[in-house]
């Protein structure tokens, strides 16, 4: 499937910002399952391109002229595979993704929930397989239904779990925490989802878990054990590590952020346009 993406993030500030700097993970990598046909990143100030330890493409954007706002636009087209092609190459050992971070801690309630998915709780050498993780994913979506507005961007897995509702970020953090607790390396993935209905806000997060010697995708919010509608931007141990935009500024007072991401299927629209012309 060929996707076109247009992702705009704008910040505006009440007062003048003297200096700001952002880490941007807004450029998708070439992977076995995704081919980047064209990509463009537009941001103000000076931009330095580098790579982080996981191999994500990182742009460091510095603005040192006084400004009242910043607009960052990532756009392009990519071809994604209809069937999942899990990554097997590792720049850092998979066991790194067994680490616990403040956003991916387990609570007693979460342990209680995840315990049933451990095939043999007495034997840590025996970890669940992909099928069991799919069951875990399904159970998690039932337990913590998707509902925006309950959690916020800083919510941890334990907070979201106790509130009983969450968005993709929360689902991913809870799922990651459970996987790691079950002895399975799991990483946070940020990217875009093609949801079918055009004009959908489609900046998304899901999980990759290391099972059967490959990184398999688990999109908890959509109950999908595949990445066939997903374009990956970056991965890391949690949201903070894989966040598409992370910035610091000097001055500015109150911040107002607006973001939209349009994900369209290019071939389908092309064929629809062709159909209209005929």
């Amino acid at each position: 499937m060929k996707l076109s993406i247009d992702h705009v993030t704008s910040f505006s500030y009440d007062t003048e910002v003297t200096h700001s700097i952002q880490y941007l993970r807004l450029t998708p990598p070439e992977l076995a399952g995704q081919k980047i046909l064209h990509w463009q990143l537009e941001a103000p100030g000076s931009i330095h391109k580098t790579m982080d330890a996981y191999g994500n493409i990182l742009h460091v954007c510095t603005v040192d002229q006084p400004h009242r706002g910043i607009t960052i636009r990532a756009s392009g087209t990519a071809e994604i595979s209809d069937t999942e092609v899990p990554e097997t190459h590792n720049r850092v050992p998979p066991d790194v993704f067994l680490r616990t971070t403040p956003l991916t801690e387990m609570s007693d309630a979460m342990r209680e929930f995840a315990r049933g998915f451990s095939p043999d709780t007495g034997n840590t050498a025996h970890t669940p397989g992909r099928e069991q993780l799919i069951e875990l994913m399904t159970a998690l979506l039932t337990r913590i239904p998707y509902r925006p507005g309950i959690t916020h961007v800083q919510s941890s897995a334990t907070e979201a779990f106790s509130q009983g509702f969450g968005v993709c970020q929360d689902h991913s953090h809870i799922f990651i925490a459970c996987c790691r607790w079950l002895g399975i390396p799991a990483r946070y993935v940020s990217g875009y989802l093609h949801a079918g209905d055009d004009q959908h806000i489609a900046s998304h997060a899901w999980v990759e878990a290391w099972v059967e010697n490959a990184w398999y995708s688990f999109d908890v919010s959509n109950g999908l054990a595949t990445n066939s509608h997903h374009l990956k931007l970056a991965h890391g141990v949690d949201y903070l590590d894989a966040s598409p935009v992370r910035g610091v500024r000097w001055g500015g007072g109150k911040e107002n952020m607006r973001a939209y991401a349009l994900v369209d299927q290019v071939d389908r629209r092309q064929s629809a346009e062709q159909a209209q012309q005929q």
Binding site: H19, I21, Q22, Y23, S46, H48, T50, D52, A53, Y54, L58, V60, T62, D64, R91, V92, P93, D95, V96, L98, R99, T100, V237, L240, R246, G247, V248
Partner: protein, 477 residues
């Protein structure tokens, strides 16, 4: 003459042995016995006044009254015979070399994990392990430019390494100030005996930091969290002694992957940052997002090789108490040598058998938090109340992998001036090891003394004091 309380036979005293002095302390003891009480008391008051005037103070966390306190300085030096120091120095070189090799290895090929010497998971999931360091090539493969190794001497007369401090070891300013004070108060002692100098430490440190960068004339700065940090005095002191700027995070910024310092004449590129800020606070864009202490963007500049951090990011994994038991294995693995310095036998409570042993023997053991420092969060079994022991038993059961345990080693003593006169007090030793093109250190280090009778906690945050440390050249063993 002041009455000197003789230590019991169960402890190793650095100065006294039976009725008399050890050979290297004979000259000093003769002098001490000839010196009138009043004169010593006079010197003590003088030292107090001078330290207050020069402002050598220490901030103590969690104390209500004031934030600054004078670290007590003891007039009686701790002396080490030269021959003994030579052995210690060999052992320290060996240990620090192996620790730097270990850090390079775990952030690259991980041979030691593949070889099964250390369980991989224990390193990779360690909170001090920095994934961001993976694959980063550092100049000279140096991670710990400055290491402060804590040594103690036990009742058997042997030195043991208690911990390796590879993050931001502090205390070297006290080593330097103590020597200056002693030379001022007792010049005659330094004329009579050949005490190895330590004053050149700031020069060695500056040279080490400059050599850490591949830039032609590198700009070095000391990065401090600010004046409320417990070691702020030391940060200011070292910057001043080296003649380099003392900066806070807000004085630095990153542009085009390089670090700059704001100056009155415009931005100036910084090549080496002697940072006294913990990893988690260095870059709010990569680590703790709430940190106001660091420099946003620093990690990307560092990973690109455009600035040197001393010590490197992620050195803490090598001095973590759960990794400490493996240091002798590291020495054998990387250097194919026999460890010169002893490790203290350590039980890792994450292991089931070890935990069972520890729970049964809490009364005899010292229990420490894996990531703890500064003498906080530890249990000294033989000195603890029943309630304290039960409290730790619960903590151990709840989170065993957070703790290690060691036998209670009786630290050696050294005669120390206290209210009742001169009495034995327990001491340790922290030499400072500098790693650049070569490994260098000034003879001795910082001697800390537990001033409360019988106490084994020497940390300045817990009421410890310091002594001047003498390595006596040509002294008999």
């Amino acid at each position: 003459m002041t009455k000197i309380q003789i230590p019991g036979p169960e402890v190793f005293d650095e100065m006294l042995h039976g009725d008399g002095a050890r050979a290297h302390y004979q000259a000093y003891l003769d002098w001490l016995q000839k010196t009138p009480d009043a004169s010593l008391e006079q010197k003590r008051l003088e030292a107090d006044t001078l330290f207050r005037r020069f402002g050598i103070t220490f901030n103590v966390y969690g104390e209500e009254e004031g934030t600054e306190r004078l670290i007590p300085f003891d007039l009686i030096p701790r002396a080490i015979p030269h021959s003994e120091w030579v052995q210690l120095e060999l052992g320290l070189r060996q240990r620090v070399t192996a620790l730097n090799r270990f850090l390079h290895d775990i952030y690259h090929d991980q041979d030691i994990l593949r070889a099964g010497i250390i369980p991989a998971e224990q390193v990779l999931t360690n909170q001090q392990f920095q994934v961001a360091m993976m694959g980063v090539d550092l100049p000279g493969e140096t991670y710990a430019h400055i290491t402060g190794v804590d040594l103690i001497r036990a009742s058997d007369g042997e030195y043991y390494v208690l911990e390796d401090n590879l993050r931001t070891p502090s205390g070297v300013s006290y080593m330097l100030e103590n020597r200056k004070m002693m030379m001022r108060l007792f010049p005659e002692l330094f004329l009579a005996q050949s005490v190895a100098p330590v004053e050149h430490y700031p020069n060695l440190l500056l040279d080490t930091l400059q050599c850490a960068s591949e830039a032609d004339s590198p700009c070095v700065v000391v990065l401090t969290p600010g004046r409320y940090n417990s070691a702020f005095f030391e940060h200011a002191f070292l910057a001043q002694q080296m003649g380099v700027p003392l900066v806070e995070g807000a004085d630095l910024f990153v542009r085009n992957s390089c670090v700059y310092m704001r100056t009155t004449t415009g931005p100036r590129q910084v090549h080496v940052i002697y940072r006294r800020i913990d990893d988690a606070f260095l870059d709010p864009l990569a680590f703790n997002p709430d940190s106001m202490l660091g420099v946003p963007g620093l990690l990307s500049a560092y990973r690109d090789g455009n600035v040197v951090l001393a010590n490197a990011l992620g050195t803490g994994v090598a001095d973590d108490k759960s990794i400490y038991p493996y240091v002798p294995d590291m020495i054998r693995f990387y250097l194919d040598e026999t460890p010169i310095l002893n490790n203290v036998p350590t039980w890792l409570c994450r292991k089931e058998d070890d935990l069972a042993y520890v729970l049964e023997n809490l009364q005899q053991l010292v229990v420490k938090e894996v990531h703890g420092a500064g003498g906080y969060g530890m249990l000294i079994g033989p000195k603890a109340s029943r309630g304290e022991i039960e409290h730790f038993r619960q903590l151990l059961k709840q989170n065993p992998s957070n703790y290690i345990a060691q036998p209670t080693l009786c630290l050696s003593t050294c005669p120390t001036m206290v209210e009742e006169g001169i009495a034995p007090r327990h001491i340790d030793l922290r030499p400072f090891v500098l790693t650049g093109r070569e490994i260098r250190m000034v003879p001795g280090g910082l001697t800390r003394v537990a001033l409360r009778e019988g106490s084994l906690v020497v940390n300045s945050s817990q009421g410890g004091g310091t002594k001047d440390t003498w390595v006596l050249e040509g002294a008999p063993c």
